[in-house]
Symmetry: C2
Subunit: 278 residues, 2 copies
């Protein structure tokens, strides 16, 4: 069988996937896009050589990225998803009936089109009437909003290349200013085992801006490092608390997982003090 060798500049292990069939290969204005079929994972979306999602396990990342802040916020009416052109985060956010408006900001329209064509189970909610798609830079979009968003979710590619602008102190400032007074922000922040310096940097930058900052993790087998971290910035509410009943249908996320996914406070303290010894 043909093999796909992942090209992740951040990973000390290279992942190789069996390729049953290459379904699409193209180049957008921003990146190379590929879709192939794997016997175990189903269809796999690859951007610039790095696996972004597989049909089989995408639920882990998308549920964990969205449902923690969506349940910590008592009633998120206005939400922005920055990146995540596949639509997986949009699908999860729209499971919350309280959402009235979802700004879906993806810089690369081709990712949306590719997902609509090849990943209907992921992109299924993109055409929901509550969704407003804007194909533009997420940092630019956020700058223009002012105290209008309850939740902002960054679902970008790795913290390199053009996604870098979504991890600066300047961006975090715009995010804070775009949020309502109980607003919450969450972003992926790479692997706690392979990229702990990067996790530290993101946390440290967020701490300059948000009164409450926290970190939770999930095991994701198809992302390098696997012990994947999510960083939360909040203007007033503790994200470890659940503020509305868990009614969404999920495969992984549960009320108890919400509580246990946060990094234990003694380890979190070590991270912030740069005392993690690995």
């Amino acid at each position: 069988m043909i093999k796909f060798f992942e090209k992740d500049p951040y990973a000390p292990i290279q992942y190789v996937y069996d390729v049953e069939k290459v379904l699409y290969k193209g180049k957008s204005k921003f990146q190379e896009i590929m879709v192939f079929e794997n016997p175990y994972f189903g269809k796999i979306l690859v951007l610039d050589g790095v696996v972004q999602l597989t049909e089989r396990d995408e639920f882990i990342y998308h549920e964990m990225l969205t449902h923690v802040v969506m349940h910590a916020h008592p009633e998120a009416k206005t939400v922005a998803v920055i990146g995540g052109g596949d639509g997986g985060a949009v699908r999860e956010v729209l499971k919350h009936d309280c959402v009235e408006k979802l700004y879906f900001i993806e810089i690369d329209e081709e990712v949306i089109n590719t997902s609509k064509k090849f990943f209907p189970s992921v992109s299924c909610s993109i055409d929901d009437p509550r969704v407003e798609i804007r194909c533009m830079d997420g940092a630019e979009f956020i700058k223009e909003m002012n105290e209008t968003l309850d939740v902002i979710i960054v679902d970008s590619t790795d913290i390199i290349g053009f996604a870098k602008s979504l991890f600066t102190v300047e961006f975090f400032k715009s995010v804070r200013d775009a949020l309502t007074k109980n607003g919450m922000f969450v972003t992926l922040s790479e692997s706690l085992i392979f990229h702990k310096e990067l996790v530290y940097e993101v946390q440290n930058s967020m701490k300059l801006i948000f009164p409450i900052v926290d970190l939770y993790t999930a095991s994701i087998a198809t992302y390098a490092g696997n012990w994947w971290s999510f960083s939360v910035g909040s203007k007033s509410l503790d994200p470890r608390e659940i503020r509305k009943p868990v009614k969404v249908s999920t495969k992984l996320y549960t009320e108890e997982l919400h509580k246990s996914c946060f990094l234990p406070r003694d380890i979190y303290k070590k991270l912030l003090n740069k005392q993690l010894d690995w």
Copy 2:
């Protein structure tokens, strides 16, 4: 650079490591043994084509395998480690001053010798006077013990081939009979995401034998599936509880991690009811 392609029959992703230098390649009575140097992970031990440990991240597996039960038990004096010929689990167990006797049962003497030669930071405690090494089948050893062990730890290779005998109902019965009345048993039980049927089977078999059975997990980037599970069988004590102060020096394990590493009860219930939808 030369590449090492892992050959894990259980993994839907193949892992590839850079090989700076092959330090050892041999064949014991039981398996092929290889040691190589990798620029990121340091030395890596491979058995029958599958990565068993890397110098850089072995602490995660060894700390999580041992310290949960060692802290849930109020005072483990007599301990058996079955497998784990590298000595990593032995090193962690011996950090507990209460341990007076440690039976170290490794079927393959060559693994011990290889670890002593190439992994001094892992094998460093094998020659401790409290350790009694027996190179024999772990199941055979356990059969002969009778209410003498406070803690039994299985640190085997994957649940295939000759390690299979360590995952049968018959073995779990011998384990129960070998344990003192407050005794506790822990074994690896594969990946919750890739091998959930296997995890279910191990749990189900243990439930036939032990009054208390539980499951906790850790993210291990170098083991396929990464969301690695550990199954605990206990004769009387709840393993989620810590019964002595945490004084051991560790990189990852902490008091709070002990509490949060157990699978949330709502997800655990789904596992046992075969309702995990992945």
